[in-house]
């Protein structure tokens, strides 16, 4: 399904959601799970993308429920990366690219941001 509307500089949130992000070296980083946006004048500006590193879980309907259950029972080690907007190239929403090596993310964020993505 074509998710571009009009000129290529317009995409939608759902076109990006769940897409796998790869870094400059082609290494898999994770899937786009969430975005943080800030109100500026009349618009919302996206400032950060939250990419979840659970490649093992399938994209099933109950994924948020499974994740909650695992967290509830103390299964941690879920790493979410928070990527600043200018580090991610989303011009091709099907293939978002991290403009840095994967390792650069560990320098800025090594634990899951609070209250992010979990119910």
């Amino acid at each position: 399904m074509n998710r571009r509307i009009g000129p290529p500089n317009r995409i939608t949130v759902r076109a990006l959601l769940g897409r796998v992000v790869h870094d400059v070296d082609g290494e898999r980083v994770g899937k786009i799970e969430e975005m943080r946006a800030v109100q500026v004048d009349e618009h919302l500006e996206i400032r950060e993308y939250v990419v979840g590193a659970h490649g093992a879980l399938l994209r099933v309907a109950a994924r948020p429920v499974l994740r909650w259950m695992l967290e509830y029972f103390g299964v941690s080690g879920w790493r979410d990366h928070t990527i600043p907007w200018d580090w991610l190239d989303v011009s091709d929403p099907a293939h978002p690219r991290l403009l840095r090596p994967h390792a650069a993310l560990h320098a800025i964020h090594s634990e899951p941001p609070p209250g992010d993505g979990s119910p």
Binding site: M1, R3, I5, N9, R10, I11, T12, V13, R14, A15, L16, L17, E33, E34, M35, R36, A37, V38, Q39, E42, H43, L44, E45, I46, R47, A61, W85, D86, V90, S91, D116, G117
Partner: protein, 125 residues
């Protein structure tokens, strides 16, 4: 506005959409993003209904409902778009400064009401 910063999935996507008089008009099914060189991407519109609603669904519902929306939907599948500047409040619901009955969001509500429900006694208060 009650907030200045949002988690897009948590606070916006799939949340209920209401008009200026709190009449439900669907959900925030998708959001339009404008990409700009050298500036953060901007969310410009809320999209509701039509194929915006079916985009998030897996097979078979996505394909089935998408086909239904394009065949029978008010905008032939095109979602109804509200500019972000029309947003009045983001709290329990996302409230926008429109009148729901003027939009395509309530097309089928009107059709059912005018063609069938109105003829059945007891349908009006």
């Amino acid at each position: 506005m009650t907030r200045t910063s949002y988690h897009v999935m948590r606070h916006l996507i799939d949340n209920a959409l209401v008009d200026r008089s709190d009449t439900p008009m669907g959900n925030v099914d998708d959001l339009t993003i404008e990409l700009r060189d050298g500036s953060p991407p901007r969310i410009t519109h809320i999209e509701t209904g039509g194929t915006a609603m079916t985009r998030g669904l897996t097979w078979p519902f996505g394909a089935l409902l998408g086909a239904l929306a394009m065949r029978w939907g008010a905008g032939r599948g095109e979602p109804f778009r509200v500019p972000w500047s029309y947003v009045l409040d983001v709290g329990v619901d996302v409230q926008v400064d429109v009148d729901a009955y003027d939009t395509t969001a309530l097309h089928w509500e009107r059709v059912l009401r005018d063609r069938i429900v109105a003829y059945i006694p007891g349908s009006r208060p």
